[in-house]
Symmetry: C2
Amino acid sequence: MDFSSKLLEQAVDEMSQLPGIGKRTALRLVLHLLKQPESQTEQLAAALKKLRSDIKLCRNCFNISDTELCEICANPNRMSEIVCVVEDIRDVMAIENTGQYRGQYHVLGGKISPMDGIGPSQLSIKPLIEKVKAGKVEEIIFALSSTLEGDTTNFYIFRQLEVTPIKTSTIARGISVGDELEYADEVTLGRSITNRVPFESSMKS
Amino acid sequence: MDFSSKLLEQAVDEMSQLPGIGKRTALRLVLHLLKQPESQTEQLAAALKKLRSDIKLCRNCFNISDTELCEICANPNRMSEIVCVVEDIRDVMAIENTGQYRGQYHVLGGKISPMDGIGPSQLSIKPLIEKVKAGKVEEIIFALSSTLEGDTTNFYIFRQLEVTPIKTSTIARGISVGDELEYADEVTLGRSITNRVPFESSMKS
């Protein structure tokens, strides 16, 4: 694209570095900002800068937090002996929204993905192992997405924990509530049959 | 959405003010920035702020420009007696990309739209009328989108110019090159028949 302004070009270039934002969308967003009061752009810029420089990770679960210990870890009513392993804060938010989980989390910050150059050392796996070895945890629930990378990560952690007597589980895979069987993929349907649950317990939630 | 961090919430709130960016997408973008080096966020913030504070409009055509007079208006090879009226810089870029136009532009900065509270006074219509009345322009080409707002704006300018002897035209509407007739809407197809062109001239481009 050929811009008449270097300033505009720079702003569009930076904006289009964001995932899923192409040059055209970036231009639309930037032109929108130009039509708004200057304060809006300043607030956006300030919020992004402040977030990036001041953000903290909870020292226990590595979730994004404004405090040393996040709200969930600091809550004495949450069971610290159950730890749900997730990829990032979005998964924490999704599980919290269900209102069904009263344990703690451990946020890995990603999945093992050699293709993207992400190895175990770039994720917060070591602190998780240490937490388990310190004897504070009774059950680990793996809640990573069931992709190649997710399964690899699950398995890597599982192997590291083999010597430690601890209960490990993964979240159930199956047909979504409300979905019709005929449209489900075979793998999911197969798993939901293999891992069928007693009828009485399915009535609870 | 319930965030564990006020900083994160603020950044997501600001980001989701952009058009077409919901809370979920905003969160994805912000989390992406958190994974990148801090310099990327700083460059984005700086580029946006600098654009918003330093941006100029060309004093002749009102296009976005880093200089007093934009490159097109400053170019002595462009015919200043032909002026193409467009909505914003994206239209200028689109027409420039065709390489078919050697005149100048006049960027209105929007369309008359009472629904959005945009009247003629908020657009750069007055300078256009003055430019025409000063006798510098021979032909005006209307290239606004053919919506209710676009047609209203065209007509408003046309009425203002009625007393001045000047040629006015609009860009041709018709079937896109490569499109099949059966899928075209009737209005477009009808216009392309009414405004048919001599066969020889259609061979040129």
